[in-house]
């Protein structure tokens, strides 16, 4: 699961639900949840799968687990009316929740009425593995190498190569160079071998640089473009891979971490992450601790370009500490005197204005949601995000305040029946430009409009049959609007009857297309360029444009 949306906070001011129904003093437990767990590819029932029911009824919340028998069946009898989430897991299978919202991917909370007999068929996909051995150019196995599987995923609006599989600490290769990457869904993967400063070994500083290995991709190249991808079918085990690592001279990167007051950030955590390689510094990269005087030395760094980050050693939700970063290029010598200036979180203040109207006096529109979407993870502290959540305060007269911000973020405002016209910061239009939060506070004006366009329709295939669950993309024809998280590029999934609804866009001219749901990066400019000639052109006016029929594009050439 990506952690891309961690920073968003939704604030709903809509009226709450109606008065509670009259209830008996002890709820009757007559409802039942039962079903069967089976394997996705074989269709056969799974013996010994663990099914978990998180059940909420008035006054009680409980988590129940049951194991399936050889017939794959499970039953949770005698439940009170309420709501529940149902999920299942089995060894060597991907966990599955029954079901997940197609729009948000969040687990669906089902309602359970008194006496209801709810049945569910949960399907689990088998997970596969990639294993092999790492060798050096002399033909000897190399122990102590960290190996990752990388897959293309859309993270923070951008398609990147990120670490796949479980996020538990990777096991370094053993004495015969063996590695195993497990828990992988079907797909195409790169395999990368890392050592030295980019792994946990970074914390062991060395007194002399005797060289190490470049980050090497299977079967033995330092260039991702030249690397071979490993194709994994469902539940397939690809074994016997041989990856030969490339020796390289290594160097040291040293410098100081200085805080916003100009003092040394004693004991700062310093991370080094490849700047042009896989991102998500929480998973790839080495970590060391600076000294009391804020100085640090990272040894065993192969040539390359890196983002070196510094952050306060201890961060809590009350004290998020400081964070800063610097880009460093290591060529053929040590890099000294790197200065990382850190800063604390920033606050964004602003107000909402309706186009043409006075500032909003009364309550904020229904379901208003302010998302401060991060665009990358190298330039902001991963840990600080989770310990110091972004907090949003809505004040009177349409004013708001968002604090706990770091890095480069796009501001996105969503509400029903509202579109964002413009976001202005210091006279500049930042609607589609990320705002940099470098410890200084900023003030914006968000111009909203009530002129909203909505599109409904259905997706069909070559035989005019509906295509359930496919992906609908609505995008502006002008490529300059194809920026990450653009307001002019939207995507939803069609429902089980192939029908779709897209709302919350500004009236204007667009193009639209239906594509298979499993395509990675549906809002990626490369993809939009590829499908543009097959898309239909639309003009969406204010209000609902309905009955749009989109023919599924079976094949997309990127």
């Amino acid at each position: 699961m990506t952690r891309a949306i961690a920073a968003a906070i939704a604030f709903v001011l809509a009226a709450s639900v109606g008065a509670p129904m009259a209830q008996e003093s002890s709820p009757r437990q007559t409802a039942r949840v039962s079903g069967v767990v089976s394997s996705a590819d074989t269709g056969r029932p799974l013996d010994g799968a663990l099914v978990e029911l998180t059940h909420d009824s008035p006054g009680k919340s409980e988590k129940l687990t049951i194991a399936t028998g050889p017939d794959g069946r499970f039953t949770f009898p005698a439940l009170a009316a309420g709501t529940f989430i149902l999920s299942a897991a089995a060894p060597r299978h991907d966990q599955a929740t029954y079901r997940r919202s197609q729009a948000t991917n969040a687990p669906v909370r089902h309602t359970l009425d008194e006496g209801q007999q709810f049945t569910a068929s949960i399907v689990l996909s088998r997970l596969g593995s990639i294993s092999g051995r790492i060798f050096d150019p002399f033909g000897d196995p190399v122990p102590g190498i960290t190996v990752f599987a990388l897959e293309k995923r859309e993270v923070a609006g951008v398609v990147r190569l990120v670490r796949a599989g479980r996020s538990s600490p990777p096991r370094p290769t053993d004495d015969i160079g063996q590695f195993r990457l497990s828990g992988l869904t079907a797909g195409d993967y790169h395999v990368v071998a890392l050592s030295g400063a980019l792994t946990a070994a970074a914390s062991f500083s060395t007194v002399a640089e005797v060289g190490g290995f470049l980050p090497t991709y299977y079967p033995g190249t330092s260039s991702v473009a030249e690397a071979h991808r490993v194709h994994l079918g469902t539940g397939q085990d690809v074994a016997g891979l041989t990856l030969t690592v490339i020796p390289t001279p290594t160097y040291r990167v040293s410098g100081t971490v200085v805080d916003s007051k100009g003092a040394a950030l004693a004991g700062a955590m310093v991370s080094i992450v490849p700047a042009d390689g896989p991102g998500l510094n929480a998973t790839i990269g080495g970590r060391i601790q600076a000294q009391h005087d804020g100085t640090f030395v990272v040894s065993r760094v192969p040539p390359g370009t890196y983002v070196v980050q510094g952050r306060s050693w201890i961060t809590t939700s009350d004290e998020p500490g400081e964070y800063g970063w610097a880009t460093v290029t290591v060529g053929q010598s040590d890099v000294r005197d790197v200065r990382i200036s850190t800063h604390g979180p920033s606050t964004l203040r602003g107000r909402f204005v309706y186009e043409g109207d006075q500032p909003i006096r009364f309550a904020i529109p229904n379901g208003l949601q302010i998302d401060m979407v991060p665009l990358d993870f190298d330039t902001e502290p991963v840990v600080a995000i989770s310990s110091a959540p972004v907090s949003v305060r809505l004040m009177g007269e349409g004013r708001f305040q968002v604090s706990g911000l770091w890095g480069r973020r796009l501001m996105r405002v969503r509400a029903s029946n509202i579109v964002t016209e413009r976001i202005v910061l210091d006279g500049k239009d930042v609607t589609e430009t990320p705002i940099e939060f470098n410890g200084r506070d900023s003030t914006v004006e968000v111009v909203l409009s009530r002129r909203v366009a909505t599109m409904t329709g259905r997706a069909i295939d070559a035989d005019n049959q509906p295509v359930p669950g496919c992906r609908i993309v609505l995008f502006a024809g002008d490529p300059s609007r194809w920026t990450p998280h653009s307001r002019f590029v939207t995507t939803v999934l069609a429902d089980s009857e192939g029908q779709f609804r897209i709302s919350g866009v500004s009236p204007g001219s667009y193009m639209s297309v239906a594509i298979p749901a499993d395509i990675v990066g549906p809002t990626d400019p490369e993809l939009l360029e590829a499908v543009r000639s097959s898309a239909i052109a639309l003009i969406l006016g204010e209000g609902i444009t309905s009955d749009i029929e989109l023919r599924l594009l079976g094949h997309v050439n990127r």
Partner: protein
């Protein structure tokens, strides 16, 4: 040997900043030196590339690490003069300290002198490995649990204990590989660490109600109901959160260390050790004790051992509380021994048998009792010479609770024998085996308690033991084995083990088993042997107490020499040097 130890990044060896230009009026002698060397494989003499080399001086808080280059060479520069410990390691080889040829031997220090480069070459022996799969009762892999290889060692009572381990984790198939192990014998052990929150198990199918399945992050575990008891279909709410501990399991699948089978690790070879672990519910035992007057006493120490001998817990100086307990305990039979300060500040003792079967046990208050007073004599057996007037002691070895703090007797407290050969033990408790400490030629021929011969059986001293006289019969008309070991390459070291031909006389602190160090030149000498036939073997490395291990002795028979010992005679024996492959 433990692999390269984690090294803090905070201190990096940095000498003083580069020397300023020499002032011709002042002679600046260098204060730092350097250390450089080459790491090679001992068997092939080929360089070991990218080996990790560590240099430490704990007294000066100095730690530095580097790696060897493609030629197997490394260097440390700008080192403050002084002595250091040097260690080299690489996956597939035994991590080695400079100057240490024996396991557990203190390594030599390497000296760095100002202005000079000390040479620190090391040859690493190839390590062995053991791999296998850990499965649960259902045959599913147990994922992501630690697996340890413990070097076989022995406690003071000759019972196995664990020392110096290497650890690896199982992968998603339950597969593990422990590598870079020094050749030797190891126990393989795994456990699921910490408290496992096992969420509601339920019958696997609604009508097959005798098995519970618990899910954990490491996989599923089955808990079988007691035989003959079919559990009705379970109300899920009651079966909700259960805290459980999975006790350590040893290859080939036992929770008892005494029943574990060791795995022999050889250089460059991979052994195999797969086994299953089962869930066993653990429980706790608590007890409270009062002294012989019925008053709550001060507890000096307590110990809990399983009947198989493994130590499961011990405590000392509980302070003022007269309550104590041990946890976690897998199902087994145990004995608890406790020493308290009782009437007139004299020690008092209690030994309880405890059976744990998954339920917590709270023992009703029990009483201690004073120990037993026992008098005895040492007598010589003709044609032995008379006893010397001094220098002889009798030892009452605790066979059930060796090392229990506050025990007035035991190996640490030999009782000197008077000039007339008499001695008196006070405060004896629990099972004891009597031995003597005397010159090397002396040996025990028999021990009697009253009319009963207790030479190698010992006595269990409870409050009701009849305290008739103890007679320890000894002789110094014993034989000896002397000999030498055919030199292999370099010097010969290690020990020579002599043990009786008959297995009947093996075991805990057998008086017929002896061990001696190899002297310079490969010579050895063992005295005080009663007439009979003995195996004689060279053991390059033997963990202390190892001679009590029947497994080990059986293994040695194949390479040992059988010798006949007669009294007052020296039997010469030539031994081949034992090979560590």
């Amino acid at each position: 040997m433990v692999c390269a130890v984690a090294i803090s990044a905070t201190v990096v060896a940095q000498g003083p900043p580069s020397q300023p230009a020499r002032d011709s009026r002042v002679d600046r002698s260098p204060v730092t030196g350097a250390l450089a060397g080459r790491i090679v494989a001992a068997d092939t003499e080929q360089p070991i590339r990218w080996a990790s080399v560590g240099l430490f001086s704990p007294e000066r808080s100095f730690f530095a690490t580097t790696n060897t280059d493609a030629d197997g060479r490394y260097a440390f520069r700008d080192l403050p003069a002084g002595d250091y410990t040097l260690r080299a390691s690489k996956g597939g080889f035994v991590s080695t300290l400079f100057g240490a040829s024996k396991l557990l031997e203190a390594p030599a220090r390497i000296v760095v002198s100002p202005g000079r480069t000390t040479s620190g070459d090391l040859a690493l022996e190839r390590g062995g490995a053991v791999e296998g799969r850990i499965l649960n009762e259902a045959g599913d892999p147990v994922q992501d649990v630690p697996v340890h290889a413990f070097f076989v060692a022995y406690d003071g009572g000759g019972r196995r204990k664990m020392a110096a381990d290497t650890v690896a984790r199982t992968d998603d198939q339950g597969y593990f590989r422990l590598h870079s192990l020094a050749p030797g014998r190891y126990f393989i052990q795994t456990s699921i660490p910490g408290v496992v929150s096992a969420s509601a198990g339920v019958s696997r199918t609604e009508d097959q109600a005798n098995v519970r399945v618990y899910g954990t992050t490491s996989g599923r575990f089955l808990i079988r109901a007691e035989p003959g008891r079919a559990e009705p279909s379970i109300d899920l709410r009651e079966a909700a959160q259960t805290q459980a501990l999975f006790p350590a399991t040893f290859h080939p699948g036992t929770t008892r260390l005494s029943e574990a089978t060791s795995v022999s690790i050889e250089a460059g070879r991979t052994a195999s050790a797969s086994f299953s672990i089962s869930y066993l519910p653990v429980a706790s035992w608590t007890g409270s004790v009062e002294d012989s007057r019925g008053r709550p006493p001060e507890i000096i120490s307590a110990m809990l051992r399983s009947r198989g001998g493994a130590l499961h817990g011990s405590l000392t100086n509980s302070g003022t509380s007269n309550q104590f307990g041990f946890t976690p305990l897998p199902p087994d039979d145990y004995v608890v021994g406790v020493i308290v300060r009782g009437k007139a500040k004299e020690p008092e003792f209690a030994v309880r048998s405890v059976r744990i079967s998954g339920q917590n046990v709270a023992e009703p208050t029990f009483r201690t009792a004073p120990g037993v007073t026992l008098s005895g004599t040492i007598e010589t057996v003709a044609p032995s010479s008379p006893l010397p007037p001094t220098g002889i002691s009798v030892v009452a070895l605790a066979t059930l609770f060796p090392g229990l703090a506050g025990d007035p007797h035991g190996k640490e407290h030999p009782l000197p024998v008077a000039a007339d050969g008499t001695f008196t033990f006070k405060n004896l408790f629990g099972p004891r085996l009597f031995r003597i400490e005397a010159g090397p030629a002396w040996a025990i021929t028999a021990i009697y308690l009253g009319d009963e011969e207790i030479t190698d059986r010992g006595v269990d001293f409870t409050a009701t033991t009849a305290t008739t006289r103890l007679r320890v019969l000894v002789t110094n008309r014993t034989g000896a084995i002397i000999g030498s070991i055919a030199a292999d390459r370099g010097t010969t070291s290690g020990q020579v083990l002599v043990f009786p031909e008959s297995e009947v006389h093996w075991g805990f602190d057998s008086r017929l088993t002896k061990i001696t160090d190899v002297l310079p030149g490969g010579r050895f000498e063992i005295k005080g042997l009663l007439p009979g036939r003995y195996f004689v073997a060279h053991v390059p490395e033997l963990a202390p107490g190892g001679w009590a291990d029947a497994d080990l002795l059986r293994g040695l028979k194949g390479i040992a020499t059988l010798a006949e010992v007669a009294d007052s005679a020296e039997t010469p024996v030539m031994l081949k040097h034992a090979r560590t492959k």
